[in-house]
Amino acid sequence: MHPAFSVIFFTTLSGLGYGIWIWTSVMLLSIRSADSAAMHLALMFAAAVPVVAGLLSSTLHLGQPLRSWRAFSQWRTSWLSREGLLAVACFLPWLAIASTAVFGADSLGFLEPWLLALLALGSLATVYCTAMIYASLKPIPAWQHRVVAPAYFGFALLTGGLACMAATYRTDSPAELRVLLLLLLAVALAVAKRRYWRDIDRGDLPVARDSALGLAPGRVATVFERPHTEANYLTTEMGFVLARRHSLKLRRIALALFAGVPVLACVLALMLPGLGTAAFAVAAACALLGAIVERWLFFAEARHLVTLYY
């Protein structure tokens, strides 16, 4: 599949934002310290930036961005529509929470925990919808892999979590549990992606050309002439081919960025808490970059069944 940067930025940036929302909501639900709450709240507000940037970026991909409001209508069947709706819906609790900046910390009263829970769940659901946009597409077998949705969660939580750590890390309360969690997450993600890559490398398409052409099973067909000698929408959009050489190199880079660096950062923070903020800042940036590379590969390496015709 053609790796469109608008979609890559959309999924990675919004993932980061939702990740932050999830982490900060959970933190706000569980912590009692006022400063720390203020930090997390501020971060939660700020996370709207990557979320909005991601969403805006996704509209860049559209042929008719001015009509994007129409995308809210088909939630019954369309994961994209659901994702759009939820993405907007998440702003309701967020706005409410944000209103405390104006009306005072206690203005929400007993609603606050519910709103935080809503934001966290909404964010999770949005990330899930994003994943499902891809994971539901039968013509792209790679995306039907069982780690696709978990990996979307993983990237959101990892990039979001690292960003949270970078912003809220305090040498006096080094949050070992969270650091450990992030470390585990990075490792798990690495394992998951490696499995994904291994499987798609092995995985022949589940459908063969004989079936695509209506031939008797097992009859072998090779392309004699394409319909058009030059490129067309299908060959550029779905027929994107990435040289294996590049793909291996990029996978390594992605792994190093989204797993290697964060693991090192976590270890470093555990051992030298003084370097925590810096380590997490670097790790968050690297993880995001790694996510972007991973997402690029996610598209570039996925083969669409229509390529059976080419």
Binding site: G63, A71, L80, K138
Partner: protein, 250 residues
């Protein structure tokens, strides 16, 4: 609306005979011609006279070499590909805007370009490559099954067929109601063992392809009436003599 309507009784679609298709691209160009000026037009062409000409086509004709089997020789296969107007098409259900829809009346799958935001998702969801995005127009396009021909009463009845069917010089293309088992197209499918493409994906395509008939190279000899006995007596001095006494009249 991207919720699929209840299955219609009428299932309009195409039946394409791969045994007579000569790969002439007539269907592809007539499709382009009709639809450029029809409800789904324009079918915009970029770089029309330059490098990388890149246009919207609803129908494209592929050619393949099919390898021999122990009983069949290798063949060249021409294969036109357009929308199959699937019964359960994900191209419709993935659409966030309702621009993609399947007509409740006859099952034709269409794009309402006024609603389309050009997200391309439907094209990703179609395994058959039947959707064509136009960057210039910013919307998705696809085969309309010539809906603006087949019901058009300003067109003489016998011509109320998709442009590609009308044009096909070998008459390899047929249009009709595949929901009606008695229709001509359904009968043709039954007779010739018409097949759907990639049925395992569950899209339930309506269109059918009629496979190439078995090639008859060597084996006709066996079927031919007893091979003639060699009549020429080569030992005879002049083999022509056998015609000497032939009683012919004019």
């Amino acid at each position: 609306m991207t919720t699929l309507p209840p299955p219609s009784k009428k299932k309009l679609g195409l039946v394409i005979d791969l045994d007579t298709c000569v790969g002439c691209h007539a269907c592809a160009v007539s499709c382009k011609e009709w639809n450029a000026g029809g409800v789904a037009g324009p079918l915009t062409d970029e770089n029309a006279y330059g490098k990388d000409p890149f246009g919207v086509w609803f129908n494209r004709v592929h050619s393949y070499e099919v390898a021999a089997t122990p009983t069949q020789p290798a063949t060249t296969l021409h294969f036109p590909r357009s929308c199959l107007h699937c019964e359960t098409p994900a191209c419709v259900t993935v659409c966030p805007t309702g621009a993609s829809y399947k007509r409740a009346e006859d099952g034709i799958v269409l794009v309402d370009e006024d609603k389309c935001i050009g997200c391309k998702l439907c094209s990703w969801a179609c395994p058959y490559g039947a959707r064509e995005y136009s960057a210039v127009e910013g919307v998705m396009k696809k085969c309309t099954l010539c809906v603006d021909r087949v019901y058009n009463e300003s067109i003489p009845e016998e011509s109320r067929q998709p442009a590609c069917v009308q044009a096909c010089p070998t008459k390899a293309r047929h249009f009709g109601d595949l929901g009606d088992p008695d229709s001509k197209v359904s009968q043709l499918v039954a007779e010739r063992g018409g097949v759907p493409l990639m049925p395992e994906l569950g899209y339930a395509p309506v269109n059918r392809y009629l496979p190439q008939r078995p090639r008859r190279a060597g084996d006709t000899a066996a079927q031919a009436p007893a091979a003639p006995v060699e009549k020429l007596d080569t030992t005879q001095l002049n083999p022509l003599l056998r015609w000497l006494d032939r009683a012919l009249s004019r």
